[in-house]
Each structure stands twice: as structure tokens, then as C-alpha cells.
């Protein structure tokens, strides 16, 4: 049984908390959030304890795992605190805000002998796993040119923390780090990064980036990140190889659509597309982590994977800023 504390009671904190609460071999014992009220509310739901201060939590509660779901720029401090207390760590993506922090995090956790698990959840999305498996099986021959796209409206976190680009890293770090990780999983090491984007444009609640990655195996990938799409979320992938092409769009993978007529005052009806799966990718991801802790196995995503994804994101931001391609050693 793994005893877990979740740090941050926002969107991701609630998602992770719910997953642990349902897991037979995990016990959600504490929630920590700088907004004590938010921590309390979530803790009450699962009969856990609420804290506003991680150090109190670490000294008061018997724990195996600290799961960090706070805004990105605060990850490093919580990683340090948890590692110092010799707790295993799960950390939402991006692992940290900067490459330097990520390197420090990897080193600290190694020294402390604790696991650092970056929550690169895309690897547990069945459609992305299926595409990975198809590519690796040679279904399209040798992969050559890839396009991924991840679009949504601008995310509105607590106190609009995403809007402070310095803290969130904007779309080129925060959002498409999912794709960087998935692409690394499929195609290996990135050699060169070129990006254009609105990171430094100071257009309120708008960000957009077009990133070109060149991999060491020759693959060229075009990665789009869009936080300017009024109609909401869509993700697409296309991989062209020497013997075929695979393509995926979230908008075309919708086995259920419910349409309701307008009611009362409402002008338009509501359309809700659904792509239900029996176990959510977040559950699968955390279940994998907890099982690894229980059995002592190595997780499928390493701390270094989390670090490398941040490195690509930071290179993209640097390329946006300098207008130059960035070589990754």
C-alpha cells in the first residue's frame, strides 16, 4: 500500500487525487495547497488531511509518495522538499520550468535514492500508445516526416498563473511538451530545434508556436501548439513513412455524440462529443507508478525523459527568442 500526498488542489491535483482514491494499492492521505481552503475541500472528499505547508505535512504524515500538481515554476521547490524527506516523487509535466532546474531535480533525487516520475501522461493515452506501437512495429516502414498538433483555448489556472509566460513557459513548453515526450519515445534523440511563436509577443491570453524538430535518426517533426483556438481542444498526429502514413485526429475519434435541444432561455442547444475509455489515461499512468513502487520495477518514463522534454521546450523558447536554430548536444 502506497501512502500518497497530493500537492496542489487544482485541475490536475483533483484528477490525481481521484485516481489514487480509486486505486486498491494506494491511499490518499494528505492534500497540500497554498490555498488551505482548496486543500481542505479536496481532502474532505477523500477523508485525507489538509495542509498549506509541505514541511508540516512531511513531518506530520507517514508517506511513500509526494505527487506535485502545482504551477510549473513551483515544481523544483517541492521536488527538493520531498527529496530531502526521502519520499518518492511524481511530478506533473513540465518536470520543472527550466533545464537547469530539471538537471538539479534529477541529481537530487538520485542522491536521495528516491524515484522521480515525470507525469508524461501521453504515453498512457491509448491512441498515442497505439500509434507508438504501430510505428515501432514498422507498419509504415521507416518513419520520415511527422506532424503533431495540440490546440485549445488559453488555459485559465488558479489566479491565471498560465498567463504569466515566465512561470508557465507558454504553449511551446507547457502544452506541446506532451508531444516532445511522445516524439522522443517514438523517434529517439532530438538533434536540432527551430521555433517561431508568440512567447514574447505580450498578446494577452494568446499563445501559438510552430516548432520544427530534427531527430538524430533523420526524422523531421513539425509540432504545433495553439492556445488561441476558441472552439476548444483538438489534437492531431500524422506520421509519414517509407511505406505508409498514419493519421489521427481527436475530432474524428468520437464514438458518442449527445445533442440536446435548446431549453428555456438558452439560445443554442448543446453538443457534447465523448471519447470514453474504461480507465482514464491519468489513472493508468498513476497505477503504473504505484505498481512500480510496490514491486520495485523501473517505471516506463524516467526522470531523464522528463528532463529531456524540458530541454526541448527550453530550446524552442530560446529559438523563438533568438530566431536561430538550437542544437541539442
Amino acid at each position: 500500500m502506497q501512502r500518497v500526498a497530493v500537492i496542489g488542489a487544482g485541475t490536475m491535483g483533483r484528477t490525481h487525487a481521484e485516481a489514487y482514491a480509486r486505486m486498491p494499492n494506494a491511499e490518499l492521505v494528505a492534500i497540500c495547497d497554498s490555498r488551505l481552503g482548496a486543500a481542505q475541500q479536496l481532502a474532505d472528499k477523500y477523508s485525507a488531511r489538509a495542509f498549506a505547508d509541505i514541511n508540516l505535512l512531511l513531518s506530520d504524515v507517514d508517506l511513500d509518495l509526494v505527487d506535485i500538481c502545482t504551477p510549473t515554476h513551483t515544481h523544483i521547490d517541492y521536488i527538493k522538499a520531498a527529496a530531502a524527506a526521502r519520499k518518492h516523487i511524481c511530478c506533473e509535466k513540465p518536470l520543472t520550468r527550466t533545464t537547469g532546474q530539471a538537471m538539479e531535480a534529477v541529481r537530487i533525487c538520485q542522491e536521495a535514492g528516491v524515484m522521480l516520475f515525470p507525469a508524461q501522461v501521453l504515453r498512457w493515452f491509448p491512441e498515442f500508445r497505439k500509434m507508438h506501437d504501430l510505428i515501432v512495429s514498422g507498419a509504415i516502414g521507416t518513419p520520415v516526416v511527422v506532424r503533431t498538433s495540440r490546440c485549445s483555448a488559453y488555459p485559465r489556472g488558479t489566479d491565471d498563473w498560465f498567463a504569466d509566460m515566465k512561470n508557465s513557459g507558454g504553449v511551446a513548453l507547457d502544452m506541446i511538451i506532451h508531444d516532445y515526450d511522445w516524439l522522443r519515445w517514438c523517434f529517439g534523440k532530438v538533434k536540432r530545434v527551430y521555433a517561431r511563436g508568440l512567447y514574447e509577443s505580450n498578446i494577452p491570453l494568446t499563445d501559438y508556436a510552430l516548432v520544427t524538430l530534427r531527430f538524430e535518426n533523420g526524422v523531421i517533426a513539425h509540432v504545433e501548439g495553439n492556445w488561441a483556438r476558441p472552439s476548444g481542444f483538438v489534437a492531431t498526429v500524422e506520421v509519414a513513412g517509407t511505406e505508409g502514413l498514419l493519421s489521427y485526429s481527436s475530432t474524428e475519434s468520437v464514438p458518442l455524440t449527445v445533442e440536446l435541444k435548446a431549453k428555456g432561455e438558452q439560445k443554442a442547444g448543446v453538443t457534447v462529443p465523448e471519447s470514453p475509455v474504461s480507465k482514464s489515461p491519468y489513472y493508468l499512468e498513476l497505477e503504473h507508478l504505484v505498481n512500480c513502487l510496490e514491486t520495485g520495477c523501473k517505471p516506463e518514463v524516467s526522470a531523464e525523459d522528463g528532463l529531456e522534454a524540458v530541454r526541448i521546450g527550453e530550446a524552442a523558447l530560446k529559438s523563438i527568442s533568438t530566431g536561430q536554430p538550437i542544437a541539442l548536444a
Binding site: 520544427t212 476558441p230 513513412g241
Partner: protein, 332 residues
């Protein structure tokens, strides 16, 4: 329906398969007369002339000496310069297949030859005439999307083979073949010129001595940035030859154009294939109609040789950038 306003047109070379599309438009349009065909390959000229029921000329010279008004140049890219110069010499108007040429020098020479002549010269960028693009242009011009911030385009296709993969005749592979369409559409939408180009280009699909893959980033003089995917990345089993897609990101909204989305899905046991059967407007009709009108009415052409040159410069800079792994500045 012969008359003073009917423009008499011949086709110079059937090397480019677009000649077929143009030929069938010449047969359909009321304001043009399809006179005949000349080709370096005399037997091809005869075969095509038979097929379309028009005259096969013995040579380009013979066709240019006839009483035609204009020619459509659909030869290999590297031959455009020579054929345009011949037509200009004979004072025949020209509709020229894209890309304008294979080198900047040739492209500039074409622009210069045209400038010094009295002929009308129009670049064949038919995508400009698609109703979806016209609506997109209106939407952008109306200000509904706010200020344009970025664009994302793809012109991916199947590898056409033939001389398209002979870099001496084509000037390159996929990148020179496909980049120019979107570079042109983007210039029209942003009303700005390409200023900086970066590209990753390679040949890993076919491993030939021609490029088959290219992701090109373009920055315009007004800071709008864009990417163009001009890869021959549609496999042989793909249901259609390819696509022309363009997305515009504005401060007030986004717009997506999928030019060939007007299609029927056909699953055929006869061919063992799934195909898209396009039913939207034939953009070549509007292209040739526009060309014929500017001749008949002596009005300016809608797409100039300079437009062709600007678009070509993007493709050429892309090759240079990909070699140097550096962005290339165009405005110097």
C-alpha cells in the same frame, strides 16, 4: 462561338501533367479557343492533339508564328525561361506553370523579358481562385480574425515521379514543386513579403538524389510567421493526390481552409482502393478565365511574374537554409 473577344490559345509542351487540366478547361470556356499543341516531343504533341481534337504543330516556332493570341507554358520548370522568351519574342501572351523557374537568375530573366515586351504574363497559381480561399481572404480583409499572427500550411502530395524527380529539369524535388503555392497564398493574405526562411529538408522517403520532405518556416516583413509542409509524403495508397490546407491564427479567431474537402469517399472493390472524389470548383477554369479576360479587356493580370518570383525565392531560400542549418534573410 468565335468573336472579337475570344482568345486563341495554344499549349507549349505537355511535360507537366497540369497541361491536361488546362486543356480540358480550354475546351469548356466560352471565351477561349483551344487552337493547338506544340511539344519538344513531336509524337506527344500529336497524341494530345488527337485526344483534344486540336491541331498538332510541328514546332514551337510554327505555333508561335500562327495567329494564336496566347500560350500556356507547361514544360519542365527548367525550360520555362526559354519558352517564355520565345513566346514574348512572338508577342504571344503567356500563362506560365509554377514554379516560375528553377533559379533566381532565370526567374528574374523572365520578369525582365516580360517587362520589356508588350505581352501579358500570368503565373498559374490556381489556388488563389478557389472559392474557399476567396472567402478566407474576405474574412481576413474584413478584420473578423483581428490581426494575423501566424499561419500554418500544408501542400503534401504523392510523388509525381517522371522529370519532377530530375533536379536538373525540376530545380529540386518536393520543396520547389510544392512550396510556391502556399508561399503565394500567404503573401496574399498577409499583404507582406517573406523576409526570413528556415527549413529542414531531406530525401528519406525515396532516398533519391531529390528532396521529398520539407518543413519550411517563413517570417514575413510584418512579423507574421508561418510554416509550409511541402513533402511528397502521401503514400501510393492515399485516397487523393494530396492537399492544400491553410490555417490562419488571428488575434480575434482562427480560420482553417481545407481546399479539397469537398469530396465523396469512394470505396471500390473494382480498384481495391478508397479514393476521394472531389466535387468542388475546378480552380483551373477560373484561372484561365482570368487570364483570357485580361487579354480580351487589356487589363492587368491577377497574378504577375513578380508574384511567381517572390514565391520561388522562398523555395530557393529553403534549400539554402537546409544546407546551412541557418535562417536565410531574403531582403538584401
Amino acid at each position: 462561338m468565335a468573336g472579337a473577344n475570344v482568345v486563341r490559345i495554344g499549349i507549349m509542351s505537355f511535360a507537366h501533367m497540369h497541361a491536361h487540366g488546362y486543356a480540358s478547361c480550354l475546351q469548356k470556356l466560352p471565351n477561349v479557343e483551344f487552337v493547338g499543341i506544340a511539344d519538344d516531343d513531336r509524337s506527344r504533341a500529336e497524341q494530345m492533339a488527337n485526344h483534344y481534337g486540336v491541331r498538332a504543330f510541328d514546332s514551337y516556332e510554327q505555333m508561335l508564328a500562327s495567329d494564336i493570341d496566347a500560350v500556356i507554358v507547361t514544360s519542365e520548370n527548367a525550360n520555362h525561361r526559354r519558352h517564355v522568351a520565345m513566346a514574348a519574342q512572338s508577342e504571344k501572351h503567356v500563362l506560365c506553370e509554377k514554379p516560375l523557374a528553377t533559379t533566381k537568375k532565370d526567374a528574374e530573366a523572365i520578369v525582365e523579358v516580360v517587362r520589356r515586351s508588350k505581352i501579358k504574363f500570368m503565373m498559374a497559381f490556381p489556388c488563389r481562385f478557389h472559392p474557399a480561399f476567396k472567402r478566407l481572404r474576405e474574412t481576413v480583409d474584413s478584420g473578423d480574425l483581428g490581426k494575423i499572427l501566424a499561419m500554418k500550411g500544408t501542400n503534401q502530395g504523392q510523388c509525381p515521379g517522371g522529370w519532377f524527380t530530375d533536379t536538373k529539369l525540376a530545380g529540386g524535388g518536393a520543396v520547389i514543386d510544392h512550396t510556391v503555392h502556399l508561399a503565394d497564398l500567404m503573401r496574399v493574405l498577409t499583404k507582406a513579403e517573406p523576409a526570413r526562411v528556415y527549413a529542414e529538408i531531406d530525401n528519406h522517403i525515396f532516398r533519391g538524389d531529390f528532396d521529398d520532405t520539407g518543413i519550411i518556416t517563413v517570417e514575413f516583413t510584418n512579423k507574421v510567421f508561418a510554416t509550409i509542409d511541402s513533402s511528397w509524403s502521401r503514400p501510393k495508397t492515399y485516397p487523393f493526390w494530396g492537399n492544400v490546407n491553410l490555417e490562419v491564427i488571428g488575434t480575434e479567431g482562427v480560420a482553417r481552409m481545407e481546399m479539397f474537402a469537398q469530396k465523396i469517399d469512394l470505396y471500390s472493390d473494382k480498384t481495391g482502393r478508397h479514393t476521394y472524389e472531389y466535387w468542388g470548383d475546378d480552380v483551373n477554369l477560373a484561372l484561365i478565365d482570368s487570364f483570357a479576360r485580361s487579354i480580351a479587356q487589356d487589363s492587368p493580370v491577377e497574378i504577375t511574374g513578380e508574384d511567381g518570383l517572390r514565391a520561388l525565392e522562398v523555395a530557393l531560400a529553403a534549400y539554402e537554409s537546409s544546407k546551412l542549418h541557418e535562417p536565410i534573410d531574403l531582403l538584401n
